[in-house]
Point group: C2
Chain length 188, copies 2
DNA sequence: CTCGCGTGTAAGTAATCACTCACTTATCAA
DNA sequence: TTGATAAGTGAGTGATTACTTACACGCGAG
């Protein structure tokens, strides 16, 4: 009970906004303090280091993303439909939460060294779908981790090219083509 | 004529070795000078900045990679075989030139901001193969840039997972599976 | 009331880093 | 021999940055 009497929330909000816009490395503790309207020292009352602050925020947002994806899987138990829903959710998230998506990807790929090894929830969700499909005989047999990596590669690279303007930016058309292609990759 | 009387070569060699091992950002000009056995000032006799040094080295190595790939395409003009040779070459390069591969990818994806926009030669090579296949009616019709992005995603993400030990490290088996999958993606 | 503790702050601090500059040395053409 | 020029040097330099520290404040328990 009792509403927060600390500035921890302000620290997190400011840091997230800046991490999303400029990346973790390019965001200084000074930036964060300025934006939060506090002093730098305050950050260290609540987090032991800038990195642990970033880790904490990353974990929160990865969770948010994972839940978003799961929302897309509620209405079906058919592996094929689940795969399609998963991909559609991924694209949708990257479209309506552009900055958050970029932050998650950057943090996961390069900016954070610790954390998330083998922990990447969205990947686990995908692997589960693939395993289920294989068990039901809808998908062809292959290493599910490899299949997951390949599907993930198609999705992420396509989004990357969309974002950097290297392919025509039409989310619907592109999503449809990616959907079709991924089904070809895994079906029997 | 005249063998080099400057230390430019030493600068490049030292920088490449360090960039490959630690990345561009983590390599300091001091590191480079130490390894090359020269003083920091010398670097600036030959390059206007650390970034321009990195760009120069990146361009050289991207070229090297592109030529390596082209070597795999010499013995066929069948789009399907060319695609397979391209992928096999990509995997082979990532295996026997691990550090160089990592350097190229990291530099391209995150470390260098300028350069290489729309310039990524290996991608252009892939796009050409896909366009040829479509013209000959071997591949299905679709935006070749999108198709290229998807195939590239499969390749790169798989290599990434191989390198980080998230899928069984058996280059031959994995390459074979990726080959098969990519063919499924694009064939009619 | 008061003591202690959690919170906040301003002003550091030490380290790092890319880059510069005044000066020296080597090369070679005239 | 000379003198112009390119190459090399290494001790700075200024800017930046994550993090620390000494102190102030206010609230709630006893």
């Amino acid at each position: 009970m009792s509403r927060p009497i600390t500035k921890k929330g302000e620290v997190i909000d400011a840091a997230l906004a800046l991490f999303m816009r400029k990346g973790i490395k390019a965001t200084t503790t000074r930036d964060i303090a300025l934006r939060a309207g506090i002093s730098e020292g305050t950050i260290y009352r609540h987090f032991s280091s800038k990195e642990s602050l970033a880790e904490s925020i990353f974990a929160e947002n990865l969770d948010y993303f994972a839940k978003f994806l799961k929302g897309y899987l509620l209405h079906t138990k058919e592996p094929l439909e689940m795969l399609q829903a998963y991909i559609a959710g991924f694209f949708e998230f990257s479209r309506i939460e552009q900055r958050r998506y970029s932050f998650i990807i950057a943090a996961h790929q390069t900016e954070l060294k610790k954390l998330s090894r083998g922990n990447m929830k969205p990947m686990q969700t995908l692997t589960k779908i693939l395993r289920l499909g294989q068990k039901q005989g809808v998908f062809r047999k292959m290493d599910t981790k490899l299949a997951g990596a390949m599907v993930m590669g198609v999705i992420m690279q396509t989004i990357f090219y969309l974002k950097t303007g290297r392919i025509p930016v039409n989310y619907d058309a592109v999503t449809a083509e990616v959907l079709k292609t991924c089904v070809r990759m895994v079906e029997k």
